[in-house]
């Protein structure tokens, strides 16, 4: 366990899950037989927190399952395997990008990669890794490189499961990260088994409309000053500077054409798009899918592992719940990220149309608590909760969830009016 800390995140609960696994889905067993349990009122402004999961009395899908099994179904009969952006996952979960922030230590990042591989969960490799730490061949020594992570992940990954999505920012485009990975012998097992994806990063939840930011010492800053803007926010005499990536300029046509070019240039890779929680998120998602994206990730304002201005963390971007409500139910693959660590938030998001949820801070904290099995235990606990909650709704797959499974019925503050010529991709 390092000194890793989080703000605005249930750190202790996540660390407990990393230690206890599925047992942490319930109150401590020492209380059993002595304490009366009941619902506690939820105090939160988060739209997802304010929703309740609504098991019905009558469950026709449970009857279908009963007939299929020839016995009464249990929560253990929920099949959680999910196709996430063209990649097969054992659960409706994936490992989010950690970015190039230093809070996540090399050992934690590699431990998270190994465990995600072992669990068969897809993994996203964040932007700015290659320009900052190198790719991992040609003499770059650090294990933190993209190649170091891919290798750690692949060493544990079962056949036919998981996959890696590699992000590319504007500065990454200079380093040609996607071209590098696409032509790299080390990534070939992923490419040839259809388990390589490229994620176009349009924005991020913690600082919507802004690019990635990290704090660098002056020596590190000097190495990248041709690629990045550096800002002396800590004063001219400070030994550290703020490194800023450009957020990149997007219009509807720029997004559409960038996706088409990705499909043109990397026909064997899946195409993912990550959006920040912008007010036009539904239109942007629609354009991305129509242009052929295999999945769209919406990073709610609650998301982010990296350095961000206080003002945007507290005041910018739509909450994830509002983003999901604006996008509405679609047949397309929608990934959600932002403060996921337990099952109810995942189930609510799936009910609102998400296909899977990303683990970011929770994964880092869990591997910080226990580098060998912390993430595995956290995911075991999450999987148990998903099975309990989904079966409580009389359903047995994540895809069966729908808006009827939450209350109040989700209504977007500003619904997206879909244009009539929009083509839906199944």
């Amino acid at each position: 366990m390092s000194g890793l800390r989080t703000r605005g995140f249930p750190e202790q609960a996540v660390r407990e899950r990393a230690r206890l696994g599925a047992a942490a889905a319930f109150p401590a067993d020492a209380h059993y037989g002595h304490t009366l349990f009941g619902a506690e009122p939820v105090r939160s402004d988060d739209p997802l927190d304010q929703l309740r999961i609504t098991p019905p009395v009558f469950m026709p899908q449970r009857l279908e399952k009963l007939i299929e099994l020839g016995r009464e179904p249990l929560h253990t009969d929920v099949a959680l395997d999910t196709v996430i952006g063209g990649l097969r996952s054992t659960l409706p979960l994936y490992l989010s990008a950690f970015g190039s922030t230093r809070a996540a230590g090399t050992d934690q990042v590699l431990a998270a990669s190994r465990q995600a591989g072992r669990l068969g969960l897809p993994m996203v490799i964040g932007e700015n890794i290659v320009p900052m730490t190198g790719y991992g061949r040609g003499g770059e020594r650090t294990r933190r490189t993209a190649l170091g992570r891919i290798t750690a992940y692949l060493d544990e990954l079962p056949d036919g499961l998981g996959g890696v999505a590699v992000q590319q920012s504007t500065e990454d485009a200079d380093a040609e990260v996607w071209n590098l990975v696409y032509s790299d012998p080390a990534a070939r097992p992923l490419l040839e088994s259809g388990r390589l994806a490229f994620e176009l990063k349009v924005g991020q939840g913690a600082k919507p409309g802004l690019g990635g930011m990290t704090v660098l010492d002056r020596a590190a800053a000097a190495r990248v000053d041709e690629q990045y803007a550096l800002d002396e926010v800590f004063g001219p005499d400070a030994d550290r500077v703020l490194r800023c990536s450009s957020p990149g300029t997007f219009t509807e046509e720029i997004l559409r054409q960038q996706i088409r070019l990705m499909r043109n240039n990397y026909p064997r890779a899946k195409v993912w798009v990550k959006l920040h929680p912008g007010r036009d998120v539904a239109l942007a998602a629609d354009i991305a899918w129509t242009a052929g994206a295999d999945s769209v990730t919406v990073d709610g304002a609650e998301g982010g592992t990296g350095w961000a201005p206080v003002a945007t963390l507290a005041h910018a971007g739509l909450p994830l719940g509002e983003c999901l409500a604006r996008i509405g139910p679609r047949a397309d693959c929608l990934l959600a990220s932002g403060r996921f660590w337990e099952g109810s938030r995942v189930v609510k998001s799936l009910a609102l149309g998400a296909t899977a949820a990303g683990l970011g801070r929770a994964a880092l904290l869990a591997t910080d608590e226990d580098p060998e099995t912390g993430l595995t235990r956290l995911v075991e606990c999450l999987a148990l909760e998903l099975r309990l909650l989904i079966s409580s709704l009389g359903k047995y797959t994540p895809a069966a969830l729908g808006p009827e499974d939450v209350w109040p019925s989700p209504v977007a503050a500003t619904p997206f009016h879909r244009l009539p010529e929009v083509v839906h991709h199944g």
Binding site: N179, S183, E226, T249, R260
Partner: protein, 338 residues
């Protein structure tokens, strides 16, 4: 010559000999290279005669053609600055028109193509192009130049080196249609429809894939143009149609008999605002194109041009199995070579 342990797609294919001596002293290599020398001499003869000035293209620069289809650029340390080996001369071709209105060069290009291309018989990591650029030209004018150039080259080598074709077992009657008839033309949309009709899945927003090109090529008896590629399939410098947004004023020339693409070309974007916007649409960072954008901002001529792949063209003329046979020191993608 050693093959990387991770290049299994080259299995079963004709690979270059491990020993460069074996390749260079092979009668086939010598015949093919003699043919290629005649092709280049004929190209220079035609282009110089038509008023094109020969330029010597740069090999390195701070930025190069972003390319497509997943190929990686090669970085060069230029006194502490990251430079690139040229993937194509396109930026310098446009700039050269500030000196002369009609230019050509025979340019080396280096592209670290995806490993899977080692098995297409058509891709080399290092290859050459006959690059032509003409100020003020329309697509029809530049394709006319290309057609005449190809016909001139083929005519010169067929009449000048009959013994070479005989030694290679290449029947020159296959060039009769090329020499006597205008090249065919079809739009990208028509090519996509034809491929789908043949049962070949083809993304209508993308480049014709390699199998698709080979299919179309195999069904034709003479070279033909495919025009009007969609915007998401090509670089920022191919000009977008003013009348038909989303469609580019570009073309490929495909050889018959399954040999596939020989040449790509286009009317060019030359307006600063349009180029910066197109750079974003192709995911490029305009900041790294500083010298080029400064020239464009101050004004460069409208133009059209093309680049013919020398090894591919040689392969077609000589009837070779693979493009590497038309290169003295071939470098296949992913294969460690002299």
């Amino acid at each position: 010559m050693t093959t990387t342990a991770d290049a299994p797609t080259t299995r079963g294919l004709l690979l270059p000999p491990a020993d460069p001596r074996e390749h260079l002293t092979s009668p086939t290599t010598r015949t093919v290279l003699r043919l290629q020398q005649q092709m280049l001499a004929a190209a220079r003869e035609y282009l110089t005669g038509a008023g094109f000035a020969e330029m010597m293209p740069p090999v390195i620069g701070p930025v190069t053609d972003p390319g497509g289809r997943g190929s990686k650029q090669v970085d060069v340390d230029f006194y502490g600055h990251k430079y690139k080996l040229m993937t194509s001369a396109i930026l310098y071709k446009q700039a050269s028109l500030l000196a002369f209105p009609k230019i050509f060069c025979i340019a080396p290009n280096v592209r670290l193509e995806p490993l899977e291309t080692a098995s297409t018989s058509r891709h080399l990591a290092e290859f050459h192009q006959i690059d032509v650029e003409m100020a003020g030209a329309s697509r029809d004018q530049i394709t006319a130049v290309l057609e005449e150039l190809v016909r001139h080259i083929v005519s010169r080598v067929v009449t000048g080196l009959p013994e070479a074709f005989e030694a290679l077992g290449r029947d020159t009657s296959v060039f009769t249609a090329l020499l006597e008839q205008a090249f065919g033309r079809r739009t990208h949309a028509e090519a996509v429809a034809e491929l789908i009709g043949l049962g070949h899945p083809q993304n209508p927003d993308a480049e014709i894939d390699w199998e698709g090109e080979a299919l179309l090529s195999a069904r034709s008896a003479q070279p033909f143009f495919v025009t009007d590629y969609p915007k998401g399939s090509r670089g920022f410098y191919d000009r977008e149609s003013a009348q038909d947004p989303g469609v580019l004023r570009n073309f490929d020339l495909l050889a018959p008999e399954g040999y596939g693409e020989l040449c790509s070309g286009s009317e060019r974007e030359y307006d600063y605002t349009r180029i910066v916007t197109r750079m974003r649409e192709t995911g490029e960072n305009p900041a790294k194109y500083g010298w080029y954008l400064k020239l464009v901002r101050e004004g460069i001529p409208a133009s059209a041009g093309f680049g013919i792949g020398v090894e591919r063209f040689t392969r077609y003329l000589a009837g070779l199995d693979s493009a590497w046979q038309a290169n003295a020191f071939p470098k296949l993608p992913g294969v460690v070579s002299p």
